[in-house]
């Protein structure tokens, strides 16, 4: 076992991930998801908002984390639109606005074409400065985001009427891949605005760092692709009911089958490796 070429393990992992994708592509079937409390809390926080409320959504990721975070962004945007809430999109990552535009095109422009840019949603783009941006929008939102992505001053946008600081939003959502992201939103915005509700969708690597903030400083949290799949299932159940969900809204659940087989393989390898280790140790101990 100790002499096993590690490329066999890579090959096994490749098959464990690739075959379920092909199986899903043929059958269209996904595993059922039951929500954990952090995902349910995200859903409930959005459900609790009255129609027409404005929600600050920060796209703090880039294509490298798209596999985990894009399904979350899609589900959040679909849920907000279905509830007739008004997302104000910003980004602390340079490629965040592009990811936001893709989500807006896929969800709002396709399935909610009656919503008007600047009135029902807006993309204010990226601002450099990391935590500096968060510190400033806590007191003066327009100083950091004076115009939207197409250059229209925010003073002219109906969606921004009465918004002067981050605390004016009843709900803030960050979809975060690292620094700056969920942790910084807690440190610089949530802590200084006690009434503000903050939700975070984070990558697997970040989840263990952010978990300690739930449920006090973070009202809800989507942890990695599992959290995305749970929330996606909740939103689909609320919107689609018994109808068939459009494939673009099942992306996270489609990625759970590769997760299952990948994890089973990994657990089996860990158990096997340990069993072999102890067996070898025992053999050496009894050998003369």
């Amino acid at each position: 076992m100790s002499g096993l070429d590690r490329r066999w393990i890579y090959l096994a992992m490749m098959l464990a991930v690739a075959l379920p994708i092909l199986w899903n592509g043929v059958t269209g079937k996904t595993f059922p998801e039951s929500p954990t409390p952090p995902s349910q809390a995200c859903f409930d926080a959005i459900e609790a908002l009255p129609e027409g409320s404005r929600v600050l959504v920060s796209f703090d990721y880039d294509p490298a984390s798209e596999g985990e975070l894009a399904p979350m962004a899609t589900s959040f945007m679909r849920h907000l639109m279905h509830k007739r809430l008004k997302p104000v999109v910003i980004a602390l990552w340079p490629l965040g606005p592009t990811k936001a535009e893709e989500t807006i095109a896929s969800v709002i422009k396709t399935d909610f074409p009656d919503r008007v840019n600047g009135k029902d949603f807006v993309n204010l783009g990226f601002q450099t400065g990391n935590e500096g941006v968060l510190k400033v929008i806590g007191t003066d939102f327009r100083k950091q985001f004076p115009v939207d992505r197409s250059g229209t001053p925010v003073d002219r946008l109906p969606i921004m009427d009465g918004i002067t600081k981050a605390g004016d939003f009843p709900l803030v959502i960050t979809i975060s891949a690292g620094y700056p992201g969920g942790k910084e939103w807690v440190q610089y915005v949530s802590s200084s605005n006690p009434g503000l509700v903050l939700l975070a969708g984070v990558t697997g690597v970040q989840a263990s760092q952010v978990y300690s903030y739930y449920p006090g400083q973070l009202r809800g949290m989507l942890a990695a692709i599992k959290g995305a799949a749970e929330y996606e299932a909740l939103v689909s159940a609320a919107i689609d009911g018994d109808r068939v969900t459009a494939p673009k809204y099942t992306e996270a659940r489609r990625r759970m089958a590769p997760q299952l087989f990948g994890h089973v393989l990994l657990i089996a390898l860990i158990v096997l490796g340990n069993a072999m280790y102890f067996a070898q140790k025992r053999c050496k101990a009894v050998a003369p």
Binding site: A18, V147, G216, K226, P258, Q259
Partner: protein
């Protein structure tokens, strides 16, 4: 000795890699000959005319204009279309040009597929394709960040404050304010001092802006850490060890959870108290703390594995769906190779 072995094995390894990529190329060529072929990107060009108006504050606004508007400019955008939409358009009007193959985007798709395979090839061993891809990634990233820093920081934050009229005429017609801001000279000076680190004589000058950055950052971080990571986290640990539900009944699971959180925090802290010897009660608490730490590390590892598998699945989806057109979970093409093969097998059996 090892150099001699490397020299002897290098040509054999090179041939092995060339052979592997040739096999992949042959498989892709076979796949391209089946059914509707392989990855192509379709687009439809949307043409919009815009006219500009300038209000009394000198602010320029662009809005959609009708054909024939004087001074209007035409903007063409390529919108993505699916293979299914292309096929539907072709069956309605054969030879139509509204939806067409975008060859530059198709080349981009194939390059992305090549780079993905080249990165995967590192799992089998270091090779020229991986090195080439790695160099491309580093070069593109460096170039991209340089452009972002120029257009997102230097122009709007520095130049727009130092020479607003020039910036307004050059690239930001809707620039607010428009007056020279002398405070912007401070970051300009600090920036020049920082650049002096590149010269041997100016290293000591470069330490002053670094001290400014570190001092400011430390002050900014300290306040937020004390608030969110100490005060709020201590508050989150002050939990009732015997919890009751909303109806006043005893909540067993909530109580167990609260006790676990409190015991976990105290025992983990005990492990990090190094000024007291880990013996007796402190030693036992520290050992329990080690268990909590191990479970935390295991959980973090599990989450990391989940994240990495999700990213791997996303790359496979790209290869199977966008490049090889093996499956069609989004229903964008209306037919798939795997589904066709599976239905043939089912029919035969």
């Amino acid at each position: 000795m090892s150099d001699a072995i490397t020299d002897q094995t290098a040509p054999a390894q090179g041939r092995w890699w060339i052979g592997l990529f040739l096999v992949i190329a042959v498989l892709v060529a076979i796949r391209a000959g089946m059914g509707e072929g392989v990855g192509r990107v379709y687009v439809q060009t949307e043409t919009t005319r815009y006219a500009s108006t300038t209000n009394e504050q000198g602010r320029v606004a662009w809005s959609a204009a009708a054909d024939g508007t004087a001074g209007a400019v035409t903007i063409e955008r390529d919108l993505f279309r699916t293979a299914g939409q292309f096929r539907a358009a072709e069956s309605a009007a054969p030879g139509q040009q509204a939806i067409r193959v975008s060859w530059d985007r198709t080349i981009g798709l194939w390059l992305a597929a090549f780079f993905t395979l080249a990165v995967f090839s590192f799992l089998a061993g270091d090779n020229p394709a991986y090195k080439f891809t790695e160099s491309i990634v580093i070069g593109v990233s460096a170039g991209y960040w340089m452009v972002v820093a120029f257009w997102e920081t230097l122009v709007p934050k520095l130049l727009a404050n130092l020479a607003p009229d020039m910036v307004k005429a050059w690239c930001m017609p809707n620039l607010e304010g428009g007056a020279f801001n002398p405070i912007a000279l401070i970051p300009l000076g600090l920036g020049i001092m920082l650049l002096s680190q590149l010269t041997p004589l100016g290293r000591h000058v470069g330490r002053w802006p670094l001290a400014f950055v570190i001092g400011t950052f430390a002050g900014l971080k300290m306040v937020s850490h004390v608030e969110s990571d100490i005060i709020e986290q201590v508050r989150a640990t002050m939990l009732p060890m015997v919890a009751f539900g909303d109806d006043g009944s005893f909540a067993a699971w909530a109580s167990i959870r609260n006790v676990l959180i409190i015991v976990g925090v105290l025992c983990t802290l005990a492990y990090f108290v190094f000024s007291v010897e880990h013996k007796g009660a402190v030693g036992r608490a520290a050992r329990v703390g080690v268990w909590f730490l191990m479970i935390t590390f295991g959980s973090a590892f599990g989450f990391t594995v989940m994240g990495r598998i999700a990213l791997l699945a996303a790359r496979f989806e790209f290869l199977f769906i966008d490049w090889l057109w093996l499956i069609d979970p989004k229903g964008e093409r209306g037919m798939t190779v795997v589904a066709t093969l599976v239905s043939c097998i089912v029919d035969m059996t």
